[in-house]
Symmetry: C2
């Protein structure tokens, strides 16, 4: 078993943060750093296949805290919808094989040329409701990730925690939400909705990174190490803790400069920032 470093019992590295590491490298890095959790991306898992990836992670004694990602549910045509259904069923199976109970869903934006946002949102709800029984049968929960509203057009038409919870409540017991500080920090209702997610037992994952300005072109790769920006990550971590969340905190950063750094160095920064900015905020209360 991986022995967690002091205070790192609930820290998880999302492999998107150390983008250039292969899965075996990321696993070895976590073991060396005393980071007991790992959040996996499907492209990395596909390199070895889910079964071998599962063995690799299990043998290292790591916990798979989530699989990223299913979703992209807004295709308006029958072929696009069928392809998305098929892909999401495979994603659920992979999550089950990997031994994680959480499949993250990035729900998809507006189809090319469309202005029908309510329609896209209806399709997302319909498709998640359709996927829910499959997920339940596999012991996997579907974690809707509300993305920052600046991604509404092209990545996720689910833009707030309140909206994600509304959808989850309509779709069944196996559906919940991800709270990602980067996506929700601006929301005046964030603490209320985190509490609601906890109270309804739908708070499935907690991811952290920081917001800096100016945003880069395309805005996808603007995330920063915790502590480099203006997000009060500790406040949000406390809200998540107060809501009864007892899972891991995943660090997920999309940033070209972070990706250019050696994985070892990035992970050391992740650990340092976690200790400095969240130390004590997510200690188990009982």
């Amino acid at each position: 078993m991986t022995r967690p470093g002091p205070g790192l019992e609930r820290l998880s590295l999302n492999t998107a943060t150390t983008k250039r590491w292969t899965l075996p490298e990321a696993v070895a890095g976590c073991v060396r750093a005393g980071v007991p959790g790992i959040g996996l991306w499907r492209d990395r898992v596909a390199e070895t296949g889910a079964t071998r990836a599962a063995r690799l992670v299990r043998d290292a004694g790591l916990t798979v805290t989530s699989l990223c990602r299913g979703g992209f549910l807004t295709a308006p045509d029958a072929a696009g919808r069928a392809a998305a259904r098929e892909d999401n069923r495979r994603a659920v199976e992979e999550a089950a094989t990997l031994g994680t109970g959480v499949l993250v869903l990035v729900c998809g934006g507006l189809p090319e040329g469309s202005r029908d946002l309510p329609g896209a949102r209806r399709r997302i709800t319909d498709e998640i409701a359709d996927l829910e029984p499959w997920a339940r049968q596999h012991g996997v929960r579907l974690a809707i990730e509300p993305l920052h509203p600046m991604f509404c057009a092209d990545r996720a038409a689910v833009s707030t925690l309140a909206q994600a919870l509304d959808i989850a409540e309509r779709c069944g017991e196996s559906v919940g939400v991800v709270v990602d500080t980067y996506h929700v920090w601006w929301d005046p209702r964030v603490e209320t909705e985190i509490a609601r997610a906890g109270a309804t037992e739908r708070l499935l994952a907690f991811q952290i990174s920081d917001w800096t300005v100016p945003l880069p072109a395309g805005v996808l790769l603007g995330r920063a190490h915790v502590g480099d920006g203006c997000v009060d990550v500790r406040r949000l971590a406390r809200a998540v803790e107060a809501a009864g969340y007892t899972g891991f905190t995943e660090v997920e950063i999309f940033n070209e400069a972070v990706w250019e750094a050696p994985g070892e160095e990035t992970l050391a920064t992740v650990v340092d920032r976690y200790r400095r900015h969240l130390g004590g905020a997510t200690e188990r209360s009982g």
Copy 2:
């Protein structure tokens, strides 16, 4: 009086859209194009002074639909707060001189180095409440503009229409909101909150532009002509109309390419897109 072009009775050019035009050029452009409304920016007004600007616009028979902008209310130190108070009082006076009943407030983001978003939001509420009697005495209403959440860190910690209305309701009868399609189109609650703004008589201004991807670096200049992006502007215009709004529709676009085009050409596009995408949506109902 400026004779409005057919169907243009409620169209207004916000002068930020034709950034390179001086105020006299913008006024002459509106008269030629049959656009009866003009939304002014304080920097353009300052070039001639408010009294001369008021005469220029009045003599041309145009209606000043708003003055942009007051606000920037989040300074944490006494000197910064005092300076903002002084500046906002001058902005109210300018609005009154210009004969417009609407001063747009862009409320300001987090102070440099701060992570205290709830604190910044409290200061915004306090400062607007402080400014309200002055505005009321001058016959000017303060229109809080919720900016898209991607501007929360650096421009406006007021991020949703619901939040803007919550603040307005706390601050007095002279405070209301601006609905700008670029800032609110993504919001799952947008129609509910537009209706609320109308029902509480706080819907003070309606501005339009469109959202395109990818966003440019810094994200400020990403707005597009109506029809070039993915916003269903007509749906939002209808919601505003259904809420009882009888004012002008201001076209406000920040975009380097739009600014590079000759003002005449930009205004022709504004008129064409307004007719094509909003024709009928904002006809006076009685």
